[in-house]
């Protein structure tokens, strides 16, 4: 009994400790710097910073959208092919894709910077989105291959006998079965792309192309000595809120990513 109470109190105290930094930032973003200032001033200054908060939000959304769509489409098709189709080069492609996990991407950012220049994708949100998608490929491919393998083969056979083509069966029948896997990949991919810092810092050179984390970093470091903490905290809230909201709604799928074994490679 006493042990139970102790556990409860410890959990509650730790929960407060974990929530405190988030709550304090939310609170101080809503209160003014000096008496008479209101919290909306913080958000107004943030909205007007640089080329405008709207631009940065839009840029970040574009990068996240490209990353999510490319990851989901390529790993769904690829995962299905790996699970159900025999073709030359299958194992090689699978192993090379998984090797992305072994190579820390921060070490290939410098050659990627040059390569994106050759492709005309330097300083491009699309190029950045593609790089972010590639980083998610090993996890996504593993997850989707396992998802397709877990579906009973009879499901596909029935669809084929009923006259579906392979592509039709995939689209009309199998996709529903692997939907939880798709949501999981989309979630991981979104969080990674939305929050990425070093890749956009290197690849994007135009202020109006910046994603939110890079713009906020400039807000912090650009004005040494007189950091506008109110606007910075408002910025942290704006950048964290979508992630927290998406995570709370899709929590189940996130945990699925852990228990599926995909993480263990």
């Amino acid at each position: 009994m006493i042990r139970g109470v102790g556990r409860y109190v410890t959990s509650a105290a730790l929960a407060v400790l974990f929530l405190l930094p988030l709550l304090w930032t939310l609170y101080s973003s809503l209160t003014g710097r000096e008496a008479g200032d209101s919290g909306t001033d913080n958000y107004r200054r943030l909205a007007e910073y640089g080329t405008g908060l709207g631009t940065y939000l839009l840029n970040t959304t574009v990068v996240a959208l490209v990353a999510v769509v490319v990851t989901v489409v390529t790993t769904t098709l690829g995962g299905y092919a790996m699970a159900r189709l025999a073709f030359p080069g299958r194992n090689v492609l699978f192993l090379v894709t998984l090797a992305i996990l072994m190579v820390p991407y921060t070490t290939i950012l410098v050659p990627l910077y040059i390569l994106l220049g050759w492709l005309g994708l330097q300083n491009s949100l699309i190029g950045l989105g593609l790089v972010m998608a590639v980083l998610q490929l090993p996890f996504g491919l593993f997850m989707m291959r396992n998802s397709f393998e877990a579906l009973p083969i009879e499901l596909e056979e029935a669809a084929l006998i009923d006259g579906c083509s392979v592509g039709g069966a995939l689209r009309r029948v199998l996709l529903r079965g692997v939907l939880p896997g798709v949501v999981t990949i989309a979630l991981f991919s979104f969080l990674a792309a939305w929050n990425e810092f070093v890749a956009p810092l290197i690849f994007l050179t135009d202020g109006e192309k910046f994603t939110l984390p890079v713009a906020l970093f400039n807000l912090q470091s650009g004005s040494l000595g007189s950091v506008d903490f109110g606007a910075l905290q408002a910025g942290v809230v704006v950048s964290a809120l979508p992630c927290v909201a998406v995570f709370l709604v899709l929590q189940r799928y996130y945990v699925r990513g852990f228990t599926s074994g995909a993480l263990k490679g």
Binding site: T10, P21, T25, L85, L93, M102, I153, V198, Q251
Partner: protein, 308 residues
Amino acid sequence: MVSLVSSRVPAPEASAPAPRRRGSIARNRRRLGIAYTTPMAVLVAVFFVIPLGLMLWMSVNHWPLVGVSAPNGVENYDALSDPLFLRAVWFTVKYTLVTTVVLGVVAFGLALLVQHDRPGTGVARTVFFLPSAVGLASTSLLFYGLFNTDSSALNHLVGFLGFGRVDWLGSGGGALGSTVGMITWRFAGFYMLILLTGLQSIDPALYEAARIDGATRWQILWRVTLPLLRPTLALAAVLSLTGSLLAFDQFFILTGGRHDTATVVIDIYREAFLSQDLGRAAAVSVATLAVLVVLNVAQLRLIRREGR
């Protein structure tokens, strides 16, 4: 357990009556397989395989950020004996060891706390995990505010406890401690979740048997839980070690690498974009990559062996 390389392929033969038709179906599926994996293969080739090769090539070239490049042998690898780089290596190793130990202990404690389904543990798990949904850059900016504003919750708490004013990021040791604290807040829930999946795969009958044999809680933890959790702990250690060795965001934002808190990746960034010498940056990248691949392979071997 799912094998790494799949061999499960449906046999269309069963539903195809004539041998001629069977051949065309197999060929058709082969073609589809290639078509379905082409987008992924192109992405992997362009954004992974080619950059890897390019990195090796750049590392043996004089390659300024702007201007013409020319081969210069192994000159770039001089960067590896640069005192600034060596200090970055030392700091990164120190940071990695401290973080991995602190994070491991805290995450394990949290996992033990919430491993059983009781009223409220679901909420506790969600709360502990919540910081992991916030990006590392946002977390660093958030803590930059916590550390540097006098009115922050953290400085209020310290003042309340009577410690006076603390300069959280003003010295090398201070910045290291503050950053490890922040990283623990950000990642403890993530590693808790990994350890939870391991804890929950332990057969409850083993605990039961140990209790019947008269083992104390402490003995059960050391003799039953920890040995059985070893593969999961090894996995968590791999993730933490490789993640911390590549630390960038937290120090770049919190200290900008001042007070000798530059990490290896910050060193690569400085070589590339401040010294504008991409060749030297590539040489440092090659060395870092080699170390991490060796480390990864060794650790994966360890996990495989332990997993059996």
